[in-house]
Subunit: 342 residues, 2 copies
């Protein structure tokens, strides 16, 4: 198949590789009809996840049509249009049943999402299908559900939003696609005031469309002071950490009011948690890799009925064979999120 | 007054110092009738909190009788028998109203608890009085409420216990007085199974009296494996970290099931949080210095009606003028917790 492959730092190519094949009777093969580039793909692109020793496929966000299913797959058949969570789960193990599908005992990942075909482990547990084949205009919204929208939602839920009480102020640290989706999630889950920390005008505009009531462009101490001022000196009731750097974790823990929880979903890179400050302020930390499948049915319903339109995070589309250019644009922050077309 | 003072590493003395005096109209002076030594006093005793530059009073756990109140104190008068939370709060600021009295905008601390008199800041917000002067036999129970019992309770609440759902397995890391009180709290707050990690037979016995259903004597990897086995490979639903060392934080985060929260109350000393492991497992961390005043009314009621008897954590009593011997016994782990008598 035609695949998007990574060969080294900054080296993305469109190459021919063998088609993925079923490995277990619970697997399915999806013919990809839409995919996209994730901010976390950039960690690999930039070499922050260690050296690329051998060329390999890349991409974990895709939607498509079932091509083939293993003998034990009951709920899907060739031709079904499916959303593919980036993290695959059986949805029956104790961790899945506790809502932590991202730590499933049979965890798997999409590894050739930016190619022609993708292997899905635990198809019955992972996939969600649409009753009808959607219009291509819906693809951006549906693609967002495979990762960034569910991840932003997870940050909001982990920060305590949606667990009954409404109102309060949520601060979102990070204005990438996940942060923007975090803004949308916080607004949907009942925060009265949603503060987006963003310096980029185009992203600020999306944040506002998603429900941000306030924008703070300042960073570091100045940004923290702005949140304090905006919250009457108290701090934010809910904080969503959507970056994963040491600086973003520090900002997140500092803008939280005492007793609040920072919901974190940015993959931590060289983060040194300020445990003594957390102790002193009773600010909690909860989060991690998002259990996409947990939220997917609800998010799909909200998307199909038009309540949310997370596809707004895409500001560029390219043929999937030109993914390299998409990586370049995102790496240089010339695009927020790039959709790949087929 | 006769005071317990610290002069350097391992150097505790009984000396004469000036009586504390009211500094603000919201202050009160308490004539101490009972006090005790806290595990966290040992950090100072051992020099782990930095050098002792000048001799100073020590001790933050005491009960007593109001001696004098400032002009703005409304709810207390000389002669009232009071429980003194180690952390003083106005109980009216936004943080107090949110249940985080330990981050009060007017936070204060008991600093001469092991002496004849103690100054209490924010008397109206901090103190809780008894309707009648209790029998001296009640002092151990009441002393436990000033810190360790409330702190163990905080660990349990922060881990998610008591928020509606009953059942599940709680693991308590640490068998000091706080850990033992954590066992009591977890049992009271509805955990079905309460696992005390303890190597000390005498402490294991107290843990059992407090409601521990299982004891794990093994530490490190072996201890973690024992928890996994006991929980069918899943991990604990609730974890209480009651020590504050790097090792105890690691153990706590490893025995938690994915998605669970570690309630931590051990003052962190050189702790390097495993943030990537927390991300991977979705294990949360929440805790810090306990808001004693938040829990005190309920804990006092449970103590007075005999539901809980946290005074069992004391295994030694000495005249307060002999506090130095008490420190030695606790430092060498020859006593769990030492009561000082007057």
């Amino acid at each position: 198949m035609r695949a998007t492959t990574i060969h080294g730092v900054g080296d993305i190519r469109s190459t021919q590789v063998p088609d993925p094949a079923l490995q277990k009777p619970t697997d399915a093969i999806v013919k990809v009809v839409g995919s996209c580039i994730c901010g976390s793909d950039l960690w690999n692109y930039r070499g922050s996840n260690g050296e690329i020793e051998e060329p390999r496929t890349i991409g974990h966000e895709c939607i498509g049509v079932i091509e083939e299913v293993g003998a034990d797959v009951r709920d899907f058949k060739p031709g079904d249009f499916v959303i593919v969570p980036f993290d695959h789960c059986d949805n029956t193990c104790p961790h899945c049943l506790a809502g932590v599908q991202s730590v499933c005992e049979n965890l798997g990942f999409t590894v050739s999402g930016q190619s022609e075909y993708a292997l899905v482990n635990q198809a019955d547990g992972s996939l969600v299908k649409l009753d009808e084949t959607p219009d291509a205009a819906m693809y951006p919204d549906l693609l967002a559900l495979t990762d960034v929208m569910a991840t932003g939602w997870h940050a909001a839920v982990m920060s305590g939003l949606g667990s009954g009480t409404k109102g309060g102020t949520a601060v979102v640290v990070g204005d990438g696609a996940v942060g923007l989706c975090g803004v949308l999630a916080a607004a949907q889950l009942g925060a009265e005031r949603v503060v987006a920390m963003s310096r980029h005008e185009a992203r600020q505009e999306i944040a506002k469309k998603f429900g941000a009531t306030d924008i703070i462009a300042a960073r570091g101490k100045e940004g923290e002071a702005a949140v304090r001022e905006l919250t009457g000196g108290v701090g934010a009731d809910y904080v969503l950490e959507c970056v994963g750097t040491d600086q973003s974790f520090k900002t997140a823990s500092k803008v939280a009011r005492p007793g609040a929880t920072v919901g974190f979903v940015g993959v931590p890179h060289d983060v040194n948690l300020p445990v003594n400050a957390l102790f002193r302020t009773n600010v909690g930390l909860k989060g991690g890799m998002a259990p996409v499948r947990r939220y997917l049915p609800d998010l799909l319903r909200l998307t199909l009925d038009g309540t949310i339109n997370p596809g707004l995070v895409f500001d560029k589309a390219l043929p999937f064979t030109e993914a390299a250019e998409g990586y370049r644009l995102m790496d240089e922050r010339l695009a927020t999120k790039v959709q790949l077309t087929y």
